[in-house]
Symmetry: C2
Subunit: 350 residues, 2 copies
Amino acid sequence: MKKGHQSWEFYSSPTIISSGTVVGPDEGLGPLARHFDRIHGDLRLNQESWEKAERALLEEAATIAIGKVKLREEDVDFWIAGDLMNQIISSSFAARTLGIPYLGVFGACSTAMQSLALSGLLIESGAAKRILAGACSHRATAERQFRNPTEYGAQKPPTAQFTVTGAGVGLIVSSSDYDEIASRQPEIPPPIRVTGATIGRVVDMGVDDPYNMGAAMAPAAVDTIQAHLRDFGRTAEDYDVIFTGDLGNIGHIIAKELLNEQGVTFKSNAFMDCGMLIFDQQKQQVWSGGSGCGCVATTAYGYLLNEMRKGTWKRILVVATGALLSPVSYQQDETIPCIAHAVILEGGNV
Amino acid sequence: MKKGHQSWEFYSSPTIISSGTVVGPDEGLGPLARHFDRIHGDLRLNQESWEKAERALLEEAATIAIGKVKLREEDVDFWIAGDLMNQIISSSFAARTLGIPYLGVFGACSTAMQSLALSGLLIESGAAKRILAGACSHRATAERQFRNPTEYGAQKPPTAQFTVTGAGVGLIVSSSDYDEIASRQPEIPPPIRVTGATIGRVVDMGVDDPYNMGAAMAPAAVDTIQAHLRDFGRTAEDYDVIFTGDLGNIGHIIAKELLNEQGVTFKSNAFMDCGMLIFDQQKQQVWSGGSGCGCVATTAYGYLLNEMRKGTWKRILVVATGALLSPVSYQQDETIPCIAHAVILEGGNV
């Protein structure tokens, strides 16, 4: 299973059989809207607090994912999830609601791919048959926890990013379980296989500006992409597209330049960023693009899976990036440690 | 590998070859002092802030664990760690220092056993050869993040617990790697095998008092112990001791009564709690006992391993409990969701 220095190759085709994506009003006005299962017009989801709204997003996404294949919570072995909230309360409270044995994880905005990588590992190793993996974020909870109360109306520099309000959850099953379920439910879409993953190292190039996460995270994305290609003996051309999580405009340019300098080049549209896809950057005021655990989670479990099922891409690499700072570390004059975890997704039979 | 509903059995004997434990002054005055590798007399470890002191504890424990067997950071595949700080900054910043591919986890005070369970899984499945797993906490960082600034001198009820200042890190390797390293270094102590684990569900019985974590967590410990015994087809008598993480006096009594009601009984000294062992509750003012991620981490990687190597116990179960609340969830009138993860440790050849 171990491949090279920091990667895993999965030979048994752990399979994403289903997913659930739930977003807020801004994401519902963006170009990926049709790929989301549910769009809430009310940022608060009729909940008492932003935090309860964020949890509701995650619980809904989980319920949708298992409902699509007519399973129930008790049919799932583990719930692997994380979020940006202090003590990842969205995921933990969702674990209480779901009642599924729970592994909480944290990789900031890289969490969705960290949990998917671990899910692939658990399925591959026979440690589980079915796993729900997910991540979420909410603009209003992130603003007040990481930045300022929104009531301040604090101005933002153009390098800032707009936290996605959304949750993405995947249901990952063994290949044989997919075949069994799909044989009973012919409406189930083609399988998407999780065929490998690369676990990132922390990279910190000294950026200390929490309003420029893209620049901080770009070197971590580059480090993980390089490690991945080295571990698998592949080039970027072996992937139809390499997607980063939420580098935004600024981080995307930096990452591309760094990779080019190191000899990694891309064909047109073969290197994209979920933070640049989820909003219409001409019409929506999102500065450098989307961010938050929910950005790559909803884009990957919505748009990317749909396009792969249609055959647009056969093999992609999703490299979710995370900035591992806290308001306290920032106040204590620390720079921003960043990380990226990558997962290979393949459509059809592999 | 999957065993029953929520457990894993490891057949290849993932092995704890080494560990590092570093504690603060209060733990150094407690009855387990001689089992810790390093005791700091200064709660701040000569650092600029409590948070940097906490990180230093974890980095020191990691460095000690790999130094004992003459390995270097680059010889280790993954760093799996977590802590109580917002965004688990202690573990993430330590990951930056160590430079090892990193999986951040969060299970509050259950984190040490969550990371050890995952380490067993990664070794068993061939996803890694060597893993550093750890957790830490610091009294002063926890006080100001979860409770009040210490300067307030707020009074505490007798149900409160005293956060352990300490970090515990284990180096987990494959059985063959242990044999190879030990053949070159005869001073390496006998192996401790990680032979199984049970991943907990979230249990919330409605306790909402953050100064009574023991009562909140006891039902989660009971749920996981029951699940473990059911999954493995064992009784409590199959373990020399079942250790809980940090229930303290109050939680220990509740857990024991709940288990007794369900027909699980223990011989004398066969059900103990790390939170009651780490301090001298007669002489030290720790209310109901120790708590924090560092409590079970330092007790297990120090005292428990040492006694197992001496042969005091042959097979134990360590059930680390965690309260998955945040100050925000408490302020929003939520009750406290709790979880417990259990790991089987066996001495000698199994």
